[in-house]
Amino acid sequence: MFDVAVHITLLVLMPLPMLGLINRVKSIAAGRKGPPLLQPLYDVVKLLQKGAVYSRTTTWIFVAGPIVTLASAILAALIVPLASTTSPFGFPADVFVFAYLLGVGRFFTMAAALDTGSAFEGMGASREAAFAALAEPALFLALMIVCVPADSACFGDAFSAIPAAGGLLRHPGLLLAALALGVVLLAETSRIPVDDPNTHLELTMIHEVMVLDHSGPDFAFIQIGYALKFFALGAVLVHLVLPIPATGWMAPVLFVAGQAGVAITVGIIESVMARLRLSRVPQFLIGACVVAAVGVLVLFTGGRP
Amino acid sequence: MTLLWALLLVPVACIPIAALLPSAQAVLALCVAGAVAVAGIAAALIPSALESPVFAGGQQLMLDALSAYNLGIVVFVFGFSSVYALRYFGHGARDGTFGRSKARRFGAAWFGFLASMILVLVSNNVGMLWVAMETTTLASALLVCLDFDPPSVRASWTYLMICSVGIALALLGTFLLCGEARTVTNGAESPFLWTDLMRVASRMRPGAVKLAFLFLLVGYGTKAGLAPMHTWLPDAHGQAPTPVSAVLSGVLLNCALYSISRFLPVVEGSTGGDGWAFRLLVPFGLVSIGVAAAFIAHEHDLKRLLAYCSVEHIGIIALGLGLGGTTAALFHTLNHSVSKMVAFFCVGNLAHDHGTRDSRAIGGLLKTSRLAGVGLLVAVLALAGTPPSSTFMSELWIARDGIAGGHLAAVVAFLLGAAVIFVVLLRPILGMAWAPAKEGQPTVRARAVDWPLIVLPLALMVALGLWMPVFLSDALTRAAAVLGGVR
C-alpha cells in the first residue's frame, strides 16, 4: 500500500514542476530569472477554471482527444516504476502496453487536431505522425535492450535485473539504450531539437500547433497529459541511467534527483541547441534507431548478462 | 463383323446420295440423318470393341479399345456438328447463298470426311491408315474452300500443300517400318497389319524402327498440328465454315494424333519399352504450348484464336502421352474436342450476329447475344482449364502423372504455359464481354436449336469435371492399355 502511495504521490506532484524546471534552466541559461517552478501548475489550474471556445467545425472527437490522451498518459505513468524498481501497477509484458498507451494518446491528439479543419493543425498532426512512427522502433529496441537480459517484458523485472554496480557503464548496451531513449523522449515530447515548444511561428510547430484550438479545461487536460508523458518517459530514462534500489529511502531521493537531472539536461539542450530543420528530423530519429539496434547487437554478441 | 463394314459404308454411300439430292435443305437433312445413323452403328459397336477388338475384312479392319474410344468422340462431334451445319447453312439455303451445287459439294465432302476419319480409326492396315489420313486432308480441304473466295482458297491451298508434303514423310516412315517388318515376318504375318507389327515388334531392329518413327511423328504430327508444323492450321481452321472448323479442330487433329499413338507401342515393343518414343513427344508438346501462347497473345480473329488453342491442346495431349499420363491424355482428348466444338459453334453464331469475327469489333457480348456469349465464355473457360471443367481435371491428371514419372521441369513448364494461355485466351473474350455494345447492334435471341447444341456439351464438360462415370473410366483404362501405359 505504501508503494502505491509513493507512486501516486510522485505521479501527482512531479510532472508539472518538471516542466517548470526546464523553463527555469532555460531562463537561467539565457541570463533571466525565469518563471516560478510551479508556473505550469498555476497555468493548469487557471485553465481548469475557465470556460471554453469551440470551433464550429469540430465534433465530439475534438472533445474526446484531450480526455483520451490524458487517460492514456495517466495509465502509462502508472505502469512505469518510479521510486522503486517495480511499479505497483506493473504486469507481464507491460512494456509493450506502455508504448501502445502512448500511441493511443497520440492517435487521439492527432485526430482532434484534424477535427478543427485547420491547415496548421493538420500540418502539426502530419509531422507528429511521421516522427512518432520513426521514433517507435527506437523506443522498442531500447526497451528490448533492458528487457531481454531480464527474460521479462515487464518494467519491474527488467529494472530489477539491471545490476546495481557500475554506474552508467553497467552494460555498454544500456548506455546505447539510454541514448536512444533520450532521443525518443525529445521527439515524443516535442522538445528541441525536434520541435521548439516556445516557438511563435505556427508553421514550424509540431505539438503546440496541434492543440491551438483547445481551450479551458480541455487545454488543461492536454497540458497535464503532456507533462505525464514527459514524466513517464523520463522515469524510464532515469532507471536506465541510475541504479535506483528496490526499496528504502534512497529510492525516491535518487528518483527525484534523476528526474530533475532529466529536466535540467533537457533544459540545457534547449538552451544550447537550435531546432533541426524539419527535413533533418527523420535522420535524427533513424540515428536513434541505429544506436538502439547497435545496442541490441552488443547485447547479443557480448553475451547476455 | 458386318457392323464394322456398315460403319464405313454408310457414310460412303451417303457421298453420292448427297451429290445427287435436289435441294440444299435435303442435303443438310441428309447430313444429320447420316451422322445419326453412323452414331447409332458406332454406339452398337463400341461396347463390344472396348471388351475385345472387333475385326472385319480378314484382319484389315479392326476396332479395338483405343479406336473405339476415339470413334466415340468422332461420332459425337460429327453428330453435333451436322446439326449445327443445318442451323449454320440453314438461312443460306433459304436465301440462296448456300445453293444447291454448293450444298452438294458440302454434303459429299462432309461424308467423305467422315468416312475417311472412320477409316483412319478402323483400319488395321498401316498403309490404309495413311491412305485414309490423306483422304481426310483432301475431303476437308474441299470443305475449307467451300466458299471459294480468295481467303478460303489460300487457306485451303496452304493446308493441302503442307499436309500433303508432311504426310508424304509419314508414308516414307510407314514404308521404312513395314520394310523392316518384312524382314522379320513369316508367311502368315503381314508387315502392313498393325496387329502383326505388334507381334513381331520385338524382333525388329530398334534403329530402323526409330528412324521410321521419326518420319511418322513429323508426318502425322504435321497433320495433328504439333508446332512447329502447325503453320497451316490457323488459316484452315479460321477460314473453314464453322461446322467444318468444329470438326477439324475437334476430331481431325485427334485422328492424326491417334495415328501417331498407334505406332508408339510398336516402337516400344522394338526398343524394349524404354519409353524412347513417348519421350520424343514431350518437346513437341511443350513447343506447341509455347507457340500457341505466343500467337494467341496477338490474335484478334476469334476462329484463329480457337485454332491456336487447338495447337495448345494437341500439345497438351502429346505431352500427356509423352509424360506417361496416357489415360489422362485420352481423357483430355475428349474434353478438348467437346469444348472446342462448342466454342466454334458460339463463335459461328457470334460472327453471324455481329458480322465480324474480330474480337475488337464485338462488344456487349453477354447482352447482345446472350446464349452464344455466355456459351463462348464458358467454353473458353473450360478450354483454358478452369475448374470444375473436365479440362482442368485432365490437365491436373497429366501434371500428376508427369510428376510421378519424374518430369517435374516439363510439368512446371506445361502448367506455366497453360496459365499464360489462360490469360491471353480470356483477355479478348472478356474484352468483348465488357466492351459496350456497338451502335445499332441489336440483341439477338438464340434459336431453339442453339440451346441443346451449346448447353448440352458444356453441361457434359462440367459434369465430367465432377463425376467420372464407370463406363468412361473403363473405356479410358482399356484404351490406354492398348498404348501400353496404364496409370
Binding site: - | Q60, N125, G127, M128, W130, V131, E134, T135, T137, L138, A141, L142, C145, F148, P150, P151, V153, R154, A155, S156, W157, T158, L160, M161, S164, V165, A168, L171, L172, F175, L176, C178, G179, E180, R182, S190, P191, F192, W232, P234, D235, G238, Q239, H298, E299, H300, D301, R304, T356, R357, D358
Partner: protein, 224 residues
C-alpha cells in the same frame, strides 16, 4: 538384279536433274510424266519377266503398273498442263535462282543421297538394286527442294509429285511391293490432291487472286 532396274533408277535420277535445271514449267511437267512412266515400269524391271508367270500375283502387278502409268504418266500431267494454261502462268517458270545454281544444288542433293545410302543405311539385300535408296532419296530431296524453293504454286505441286515419286521408289526398295489396296489408295490420293491443287492454283491466279502462297500469311479480318 537386273540391269534394267538400275538403268531405270538412273533414269529417275536423270529426270530429277533435268527438272532441277529447266526453267520451263511445261518441260518440268512432261519430265514428271516421264518419271511416272519410269516408275510404272520399275516393278516390271525389278521382278523381271517372272512377273508374268506368277499366277495370282500377275494381276496384282499388272494392275499396279497400269494404275501407276495411267495416273502418274497421263492423268496428273494432263491436269497440271491444263492448270498451267488456265492460270496463265508464264511458260518460263521463274528465275528463282540462276538455273546453273539450281542444277548444281540438285547435283549436290543427288550426291548427298548416295552418300547417305552408302554410309548411313545398311547394305541392300542381295537381289535388290543398290541404286534403289539413293535414287529414291535423291528424288525425294529434289522434290522437297522444289516445294520449298519454288516460287510459283505449280512448281510446288510438281515438287510434291517428285517427292511422292521418291517416297515410292524408296518404298519399293525396302518393301518389294505393296498390297494392291494400299498402292491404289495412295495413287488415288495423290491424283485427287494434285487435281485439287491444280484447281486452287488456277483460281488463285485469276486476275485478283494474287499469290496464293504468300497470302496465307496474312490472316483474314485484318487481324494483324
Amino acid at each position: 538384279m537386273s540391269l534394267d532396274a538400275d538403268l531405270l533408277l538412273l533414269l529417275v535420277i536423270g529426270i530429277d536433274l533435268f527438272i532441277g535445271s529447266t526453267g520451263r514449267l511445261g518441260a518440268r511437267i512432261r519430265a514428271c510424266a516421264l518419271q511416272g512412266l519410269v516408275l510404272a515400269a520399275l516393278p516390271l524391271a525389278i521382278q523381271g519377266t517372272g512377273v508374268l508367270t506368277g499366277g495370282e500375283r500377275v494381276l496384282h502387278t499388272v494392275l499396279a503398273v497400269l494404275a501407276t502409268f495411267l495416273l502418274k504418266a497421263v492423268a496428273i500431267p494432263y491436269f497440271l498442263l491444263r492448270a498451267m494454261r488456265q492460270s496463265g502462268v508464264a511458260r518460263e517458270a521463274e528465275p528463282e535462282h540462276s538455273l546453273h545454281l539450281s542444277l548444281l544444288l540438285c547435283a549436290v542433293l543427288v550426291g548427298l543421297s548416295f552418300w547417305i545410302g552408302a554410309v548411313m543405311l545398311p547394305p541392300p539385300e542381295a537381289g535388290s538394286s543398290p541404286l534403289g535408296v539413293p535414287a529414291g532419296l535423291a528424288t525425294l530431296l529434289v522434290g522437297l527442294y522444289l516445294t520449298v524453293g519454288g516460287r510459283t504454286e505449280l512448281t510446288q505441286v510438281i515438287g510434291y509429285l517428285v517427292l511422292e515419286n521418291g517416297v515410292f521408289v524408296i518404298g519399293q526398295r525396302v518393301l518389294g511391293e505393296f498390297p494392291l489396296v494400299v498402292e491404289l489408295g495412295v495413287l488415288l490420293d495423290v491424283l485427287v490432291a494434285v487435281m485439287l491443287m491444280a484447281v486452287l492454283v488456277a483460281f488463285g491466279h485469276r486476275p485478283e487472286g494474287g499469290s496464293a502462297g504468300d497470302g496465307a500469311a496474312t490472316p483474314a479480318g485484318g487481324a494483324r
